[in-house]
Symmetry: C2
């Protein structure tokens, strides 16, 4: 019986990976939880506890081997897989994400792009042609697509999500400003930019008030 890992822990793993990647680049071979805790400004205890959710990656008296830990966390995050993704919505944000080369390095392969606007259909982003929405269901089914990136206004998002789910998508990276209601076999990760901006707004005005 595997115990469930909390999302709080998962959310921290990419950050560990980032710092370990930096250490790798600087040819650091080993690191202790307390050294890492200084770099990352978290407690050493939390680092150890987080890692021990997945097994003992360190060695007493030595610490953690940077390369080994990096690759273990990569595995945990599923980054040894390749995932094919498509982008729905060829606006600026869609184009920005499609053009972002680093995703490719992590095993996320950009396979297709869709939009309902006829003037965008046929244009290209990084060698990938924008297709019409009519072509979407067939493309998912035949192209072994895992992830759909939703970069369309919230009005259309719910309906499009329905189509995605019906055609067997595994996951949705949702930038539309609406909560999607999907079956539990479909993973959703929301990026609500305006929520993030409002949090910033809160922190600005809250700081201004305490200062005053």
């Amino acid at each position: 019986m595997d115990k469930e890992i909390s999302q709080a822990v998962i959310s921290r793993l990419p950050r560990y990976l980032r710092y370990l990647g930096d250490l790798k680049d600087r040819n650091v071979e080993r690191i202790s939880s307390s050294e890492l805790s200084v770099l990352m400004k978290v407690t050493a205890s939390q680092i150890r506890q987080d890692l021990n959710n997945f097994g003992g990656f360190g060695q007493q008296g030595y610490g953690y081997n940077v390369d080994f830990l990096y690759s273990e966390i990569s595995k945990i995050l599923g980054l040894e897989h390749q995932y094919n993704f498509i982008i729905i919505g060829a606006g600026n944000l869609g184009k920005a994400l499609g053009g972002y080369l680093n995703f490719e390095k992590r095993g996320f392969i950009f396979k297709g792009m869709f939009d309902k606007d006829p003037s965008l259909i046929g244009t290209e982003v990084r060698g990938v042609k924008v297709m019409s929405m009519e072509e979407l269901p067939g493309f998912i089914r035949s192209g072994n697509i895992d992830i759909a990136v939703l970069t369309i206004p919230k009005e259309g998002a719910v309906l499009v999500a329905k189509v995605l789910v019906e055609n067997g998508i595994k996951a949705i990276w949702n930038f539309a400003h609406v909560d999607l209601d999907v079956p539990e076999n479909v993973q959703v990760e929301n990026v609500h930019l305006s929520d993030s901006l409002m949090k910033l707004s809160y922190n600005i005005s809250s700081y201004d008030q305490t200062k005053k």
Copy 2:
């Protein structure tokens, strides 16, 4: 002595605001915490507790007035202010954010854009000209700029953040894939897109494994 409001609560406020906005659009006048809890799929208890951090906005036997609650949460989030923002990095993501009209509605005013690439300088995004990095310090100082949006690669981000802080920026909305170290009077909100994508990756492969 005001007790500190936890970031967990703050993070939920924009979502409340979103649902309340939808209710407003549908001309719903009042709503109870339990009705809202069904819509939002959270406990009614949490809603009441969250709101009561800031004061009693509801009325016994009546519930919450939608318009009133909407405007109260807006105030809490500091959305009655206007904030001027600039974007550093005129790549696709920067252009996407600059072109996003909804921010304007919330009181975030797009004032300037900067890039180090000479071929981009002089181009326009929604009527705003891209300027050179040399012009940045003066622009912040003279233009009453509150927020800087950082959409540049991580290599340059730390240095640019330093410049921003030195010239009196209040807040940084950081899309660069690096943690910024700034004084406590500067608010930072991170949007690490690859972290988010990795979380999605984890959830896909973790679901695949339990299913197997």
